[in-house]
C-alpha cells in the first residue's frame, strides 16, 4: 500500500483528495453514499458573515464537457454553520477547510475571527467567486486587492490560510506571489472561469445571473497549466482543482505541482467520484512501485 497522506500548511490529510467548495455542502448529503471520513478533506460551502440567499434561478447550465453555475454564495452564515453543521462535521475523521467569502475586507476579517476559536483545520480565502456583485472575485483579480485582503485576514486568522485564486486574470503567477508575500500558507486554484450561454430562441442568457462560473473537464487543461505555473513560482503548497474527474487527472495535477487536489463537478454525475479517485490513485501508485504520493508532486519534466 502506497502512503497517500500529505501535509498542507502543517495539516496532515490522510489522502490528497478534498471535495471542492460548493459541490459538497457541509457534507451531510453524501453520507448516504460512503463514509465521508474516507476523504482527505472537505472544503466546505463558501460561507459569509451573514446569511446569503444567493441568486435567482436558473443557476446552472450544462456546457460541452462541463457546466456553468451562478449560485451566488447561498449559505446560512458563519454563526449557523458553527451551531448547526460544525458539531456534525467534527464527528468525522477528515480535515475541515472553511471556505470564507465577503463583500469587504472587514467581512473576511470578521468571519476569520468568528472561526478562530472553532475546530476547523484550515481556512480557504475565497477571493475568486465570479457570481456575486460585490467583493468576491474583485479582490482576486489584482495583486493589490489580493495582497490587501490576505494581509488583513492574517491578523485575525488562527488557522493556516489557503488563498483560492481566480483564473480570470492575465497573470496568475504575480497574484500568487503577492498573496504568498503577505503570509498565505498555501494557494488553491483554480476557481471557475467566467462564462455565458444564451438560449437562442428566447434570446436570453440561460443563467438568470447572465454569466456564471465554468467548471468540469472543459477547464482541466487550464487548471493544470495554472497550477504548474504557480507551483513553480511559490514555496507554499498548492492545492490543484478544476475539472478533475479521475485518478489519472488527480495524478496529472499533482505532477504539475499540486500537493493535494479538490474534486467538484465530477460528483454531480458520479457521487462516488472522490472515493474512486482515492482508490484509483492508490492502485496507480502501487502499480508503479511508488511508496509515497508525495514523490510525484511537481515531477513533470518540461521539454525545455
Amino acid at each position: 500500500m502506497a502512503n497517500l497522506s500529505v501535509n498542507i500548511a502543517g495539516v496532515t490529510l490522510k489522502n490528497p483528495v478534498i471535495t471542492a467548495s460548493g459541490c459538497f455542502g457541509f457534507g451531510r448529503e453524501y453520507e448516504d453514499f460512503y463514509d465521508i471520513s474516507r476523504l482527505g478533506g472537505i472544503s466546505l460551502k463558501g460561507m459569509t458573515a451573514k446569511k446569503r440567499l444567493g441568486n435567482p434561478p436558473p443557476r446552472i447550465a450544462e456546457t460541452p464537457a462541463g457546466m456553468l453555475n451562478s449560485v451566488g454564495l447561498q449559505n446560512p452564515g458563519v454563526d449557523a454553520f458553527l451551531r448547526d453543521d460544525l458539531p456534525y462535521l467534527k464527528t468525522k475523521d477528515t480535515v475541515l477547510i472553511a471556505n470564507i467569502a465577503g463583500s469587504t475586507v472587514e467581512d473576511y476579517c470578521e468571519i476569520a475571527s468568528r472561526l478562530a476559536d472553532s475546530e476547523v483545520d484550515l481556512l480557504e480565502l475565497n477571493i475568486s467567486c465570479p457570481n456575486v456583485k460585490e467583493g468576491g472575485v474583485a479582490f482576486g483579480v489584482s495583486c493589490e486587492g489580493a495582497a490587501g485582503v490576505v494581509r488583513a485576514v492574517k491578523r485575525h486568522a488562527r488557522q493556516p490560510l489557503l488563498v483560492k485564486l481566480s483564473p480570470n486574470v492575465t497573470d496568475i503567477v504575480s497574484i500568487a506571489k503577492a498573496v504568498e508575500s503577505e503570509g498565505a500558507n498555501g494557494i488553491s486554484l483554480i476557481n471557475t472561469l467566467l462564462g455565458m450561454r444564451i438560449d437562442i430562441e428566447r434570446r436570453r442568457p440561460v443563467l438568470y445571473n447572465n454569466v456564471g462560473g465554468l467548471s468540469g473537464p472543459a477547464v482541466f487543461p487550464v487548471a493544470v497549466r495554472m497550477v504548474w505555473q504557480v507551483a513553480n513560482a511559490v514555496k507554499v503548497p498548492v492545492v490543484g482543482m478544476g475539472g478533475i474527474a479521475s485518478a489519472k487527472d488527480a495524478i496529472e495535477m499533482m505532477m504539475a505541482g499540486a500537493s493535494a487536489v479538490q474534486v467538484g463537478a465530477a460528483m454531480f454525475s458520479d457521487p462516488m467520484a472522490p472515493v474512486k479517485i482515492i482508490e484509483g490513485m492508490e492502485s496507480w501508485l502501487s502499480g508503479h512501485g511508488i511508496a509515497d504520493v508525495g514523490e510525484i508532486v511537481g515531477t513533470v519534466r518540461p521539454w525545455s
Binding site: 460548493g22 455542502g25 464537457a65 458520479d270
Partner: protein
C-alpha cells in the same frame, strides 16, 4: 439511496417526443414513494437529468418513467432501448403527502407534468378526480392510465379533445362540486400559479411538484433554487431536489 445501473424492461414512444420506460430496479422501487424523482446519468454528460417517478410496481419491482425530450440530455436518454442499462440515482427528494385513502383528492396535471400524479390517483382511486390539461389532442398522454384509476377530465387548449380551455375552470368546478380535502398539481409554472391562487381562495390544501435546472440532485450544490415564503413572511431559496420537488402551495413564491 441507490446509485447504479439497472436494466430497461421496455421502451415506448406513446406520442412523438415523449418516452415511456419501465426499468427493473426492485430495491429502488421498495424505497420510493409517489412524487419523488430519480436522477439519470446521460452518458458522458456532466449533468444527470431529474425525472419524476410515474409509477411504482412493487410486485414486479418495475419503475416507470415518462419524460419528454427537451434537449440534448433527454434526447440521449431516449436512445436507450429495452435491454440497455440506465444509471439511476434515487429515489430523491420529498414526494407527495398522501392522506388516508378515505379522503377525497383532486390531481391536476399539465402536459409532461402529469406523470408524477398517476400514483397519487391510484392511492385515492375512486375518491380522486384527475384533471389533465394539454395543448392539443396530439399532446395527450396517460389519459387511459388515469381513467382506469379514477374519474378523469381531459382539457385541451384548442378543444381538439375533451373540454376546451385550461385546467382552471375544471378545477374550480371540482372544488365546488367534488369538495376535495387536498389538491395535487404538477405542470408549467403559469398553471401552478393559477392553481395556487384558486386553492388559496377556497381554501383547500394544495401540494405542488416543481422542477428546476438541477445539479447534484441531493441538496449539496444549491443550484435548483425555488423561492419560498415561511409563515412569518420570511423569504428564502429552498432547493427543489432536497426540500422538494413537492412543496405546500402556500409556501411557494412564483417570480
Amino acid at each position: 439511496m441507490i446509485c447504479r445501473e439497472f436494466e430497461i424492461v421496455s421502451r415506448q414512444e406513446p406520442i412523438p417526443g415523449v418516452f415511456d420506460y419501465k426499468i427493473h430496479c426492485p430495491e429502488l422501487v421498495a424505497e420510493a414513494s409517489p412524487g419523488q424523482f430519480v436522477h439519470i446519468r446521460c452518458g458522458e454528460r456532466s449533468l444527470r437529468r431529474p425525472i419524476s417517478i410515474c409509477a411504482l410496481d412493487r410486485g414486479t419491482g418495475e419503475l416507470r418513467l415518462v419524460f419528454e425530450v427537451r434537449g440534448e440530455g433527454t434526447r440521449e436518454l431516449s436512445h436507450l432501448a429495452a435491454g440497455d442499462r440506465m444509471d439511476i440515482l434515487g429515489p430523491l427528494g420529498h414526494g407527495f403527502e398522501l392522506l388516508d385513502p378515505g379522503a377525497r383528492a383532486v390531481v391536476v396535471g399539465g402536459g409532461i407534468g402529469t406523470p408524477p400524479l398517476l400514483e397519487v390517483a391510484r392511492h385515492y382511486g375512486e375518491r380522486c378526480q384527475a384533471i389533465l390539461g394539454f395543448r392539443s389532442v396530439k399532446n395527450v398522454i396517460l389519459d387511459q392510465d388515469f381513467a382506469s384509476a379514477c374519474g378523469t377530465v381531459v382539457c385541451t387548449d384548442d378543444g381538439s379533445w375533451g373540454v376546451r380551455g385550461t385546467v382552471l375552470p375544471a378545477l374550480e368546478a371540482a372544488l365546488q362540486g367534488f369538495c376535495p380535502q387536498i389538491v395535487y398539481a404538477c405542470g408549467p409554472k403559469p398553471m401552478l400559479k393559477g392553481i395556487q391562487e384558486l386553492c388559496a381562495r377556497y381554501p383547500v390544501r394544495c401540494q405542488l411538484s416543481l422542477e428546476e435546472r438541477m445539479g447534484c440532485g441531493v441538496g449539496a450544490c444549491l443550484v435548483c433554487a425555488c423561492k419560498t415564503r415561511a409563515e412569518d413572511g420570511q423569504e428564502n431559496y429552498a432547493h427543489v431536489c432536497k426540500d422538494g420537488p413537492v412543496f405546500e402551495a402556500q409556501s411557494v413564491v412564483f417570480e
